[in-house]
Each structure stands twice: as C-alpha cells, then as structure tokens.
Amino acid sequence: MWTFINKLGSPRWFYAISARLLPWLWAAAAVLIAVGSIWGLAFAPADYQQGNSFRIIYVHVPAAFLAQSIFVAMAVSGLIFMVWKIKIADMAAAMMAPLGAAMTFIALFSGAVWGVPTWGTWWMWDARLTSMLILLFLYVGVIALRGAFSSRDSASRAASVLAMVGVINIPIIKYSVDWWYTLHQPATFSVTSRPAMPLEMWMPLLIMVLGFYCFFIALTLTRTRSEILRRESTKRWVRELAGEGG
C-alpha cells in the first residue's frame, strides 16, 4: 500500500497511471452530465410552486456541492503536501483552486438567476448566498496568495497553510452566518424546507451531482498532468516524451 502511494507521489508514475484512468473519467462525466441534464431539463415534472424555474437546481446544486468539496480537497492536498512533501498534492491543489472559484461563482450566479422569478430580485442577503460569497472570497484569497510569491515552494506552502486555516473557518463562518440570518430576517421563503422531492425530480439531480464530481476529478487530473509536464520540463522522461531525445 505504502509503496503504491509513494509511486503515485512520483510525477512520472502519476502521469502514467492517470493516463489510464482519464478516458473512463471523462466518458463517465460526459454521459452522466448529458443524461442528467436532458432528464432534468426535459423530462422531470415541473414544480407546482416554481414552475420550470426550479430546473436551475440541476446546475446550481451540483456546483454548490463542488464549491465546498473542492475547498476541502484543496486543504487535504495542502496537508498532504505539508506533511509528506508530496509535490503532486500541491500541483493538484493549485489546479483545483480556480475550478473551485469558478464553481462557487456558478453557484452564486445560478442562485441569482433563480432569485429573479422566485424572490423578484437578483440578490438577497440569504444565509446560503452570503456564505457562498464568503467562500468565493476565500478562494480568491488562496489564488492571490499563491500568485504573490516569487518562489514556487513558498507559494505552495503559504497557499496550503491558508487553505487549512480556511477549512477550519468554513464551518464556523457557515453556522454564524446561518445564525445571523435567522436573527435578522425571519425566513419568509426557505429553500431548506422545500417539500421532499419526488423521485423523478431527485434522480436527475443525483446523476448531475455525480457527473459534476467526475468532471471535477477528470479536469483536475488533466490539469495536474499538464502542470507536471510544466514543472518537470527539465527531467529526462518529460523530454523523451516530448520527442526531444534524452
């Protein structure tokens, strides 16, 4: 087991193993997202209260899930990098950050679009929107900090520390924002107390969530592979791969 992890930690092995996994992951992501979106957008029944506008959850909810999981994944990678000095973990964390920020933005934007027919406004200081906005700022902070250092090693370690500090704070922020919201605005319309979804509405959502996760893993692997080539461009195996000859 340990040797396998060690092997995986070496860029060259990682590059080889991920090449075998990637086609499957991309195919799974494509199939799941295609099935989920066609089912969700065309065949799932319309909501009796919100009509067709509810269908935006098929993008909104998976994006929101990913936005939070990516931050945790980034912090875990940061921890692995700090403790065991596995460079792959840091490359993956660096590649995940923009994707996480993009997912947070998608979740916020789709939430705002959904708010127009439902709340009659683009923005409400709703607890979930507010904590998502703060999450976006946390992502921007990690990305900006990584960009600010001139030495790559310092940048990696600083970003790892910040991601870990952030991940400890996310639950605290989330609960305090929830608490703040219930204190200031008695919830008139709450998304949480939505009546239980029927299976035909819920299944496509599950498929979409799975599809988004596959997409995230596949994209992270692909981006990490190109980052390996970029960082290890002086190594012999990379040069052989590029056809320059050893």
Partner: protein, 240 residues
C-alpha cells in the same frame, strides 16, 4: 526504572528559558511600540475618522444613526485593527529579529503569541476603550456601552490572532497590504456577527451573555490554532 537524579537544575532550565524568552519578547515589543506612539495612535485616529464619515455620508439624524451604530462601530473598529496588522511583523522582518526568533530554542508559536498579545494590548484594547465615546457621537442607545467595550475587547483579541496569520503570510511580500485584507477579512466575519450581535442584543434588552460566550469560544479556538499557523507562516515567509 528511573532513579531520581540529583541534577535538577539542568532539567528545569528550558522551562525557565521559555518564561524568560516570553517575558523578554513581550517587554521588547511593548517598549518598541510605545516608543513609536504614532503607530499606536494611528488606528485610533482612523477609527474616529471613519465614524465621522458615516453621519456625513448618510444623515445626521440621531434616530437613523442609533439603529445602525452597533454595526458601524464594529465594522470601523475591525478595519482599524486590520490597518495596524501590516506593521505587526514588518519591523522585525526588516531588521532580522524574526530570524533570530526563529533560530531561538524556544517554540516560535509561543513567541509569536507574545507579539500578538502586545498588538492586542496596544490596538484592540484602546479601540474597545474608545468605542463608547464614538458611540455617544452616533447616539448609541444607553445601556449598551459596557457591552460594546466588552465585546470589542474580547473580539479584537480574536481579530489580532487571526489577522496575525495573514500578516505572517504576507510579511515577506513587498506589496502585501491589500492582499492581507483580502486574506483576513473573510475570516473576520464570525467575530463581526457575534460582536455586533452582542451590542444589538444589549440595545433590544436581550441577554448578552450568550453572544459574549460565543466570542469567548471563538477566542479560545483562535488561541488554540492560530499560534501554530502563525509560526508555520513565519517560517514560510523567512525562507522564501
């Protein structure tokens, strides 16, 4: 299997060393900051200035001001505390003291804690003491002044600890100022919510002990985790 050894003094020495180092760091920082009075006074002046801007920008109507005063006072104090963070490690970084602290046999986390304590003593605490005066100017309802000062005193300690992580991460960067606020402000939000909430509750006549207790809990968590994060960040900044 261990027999009591008579050589107690060498064993007690590291402990004494830690206390001595802690006291020395604390005293040194306190003296240094007190000699540069401008740096101590600037956040306070900034606090007063920002509070002056709001009635000018919004309205001098006491009714309106008194409803938004708790939030205004807390946000302004938070920004003033943020402003002073950049200089927390800057001087020590520039003159090489930080490297000496890093090389010293005592744990860096504890020494950093001493520096943060001095920062709070000369920034957070004065801000908390000054806030009631500015509260009068914003016609903050009576009965909430003590809670305002208390919540700020408690909350600003957490702000100093969390902010010190950001300051330690950015101290090696030449233009860390804006980045520092970007890193630190999102982490300040829970403290702001419960701090301003405490003052709000005092105005409404609710029990404030719950809010203050949560502020205390946040401080306890920050005290537990922040020193290690600060130490790790300082190591990164020194090496890079």
């Amino acid at each position: 299997m261990s027999r009591a050894k008579p050589s107690a003094p060498p064993q007690r020495e590291p402990h004494g060393g830690l206390v001595v180092a802690l006291r020395a760091t604390f005293k040194r920082d306190l003296i240094l900051l007190l000699r540069r009075r401008g740096e101590v006074l600037n956040p306070l002046v900034f606090f007063a200035l920002v509070i002056t801007l709001f009635p000018i920008g919004i309205s001098p109507d006491p009714e309106l001001l008194s409803t938004i005063a708790p939030g205004l006072l807390w946000v302004a104090a938070l920004l003033a505390a943020l402003l002073s963070l950049d200089s927390l490690f800057r001087g020590d970084y520039d003159d090489g003291t930080l490297e000496q602290l890093l090389l010293s046999p005592q744990p860096l986390a504890v020494l950093a804690l001493a520096k943060v304590a001095v920062h709070w003593l000369l920034t957070g605490l004065p801000l908390a003491l000054m806030a009631p005066v500015l509260g009068i100017m914003l016609s903050l309802p009576a009965g909430s002044y003590l809670v305002l000062a208390l919540s700020l005193a408690l909350g600003s300690a957490s702000l100093s600890l969390i902010g010190a992580i950001g300051a330690a991460l950015t101290v090696g960067l030449s233009r860390g100022g804006v980045l520092l606020s970007l890193l630190v402000l999102p982490l300040y939000i829970p403290v702001l919510i419960f701090g301003a909430g405490a003052v709000q509750a005092a105005i409404l006549g609710d029990a404030v002990s719950a809010h203050l207790a949560i502020l205390g809990a946040l401080l306890a968590v920050a005290l537990m985790f922040a020193p290690w994060a600060i130490a790790a960040s300082l190591r990164i900044s020194i090496n890079g």
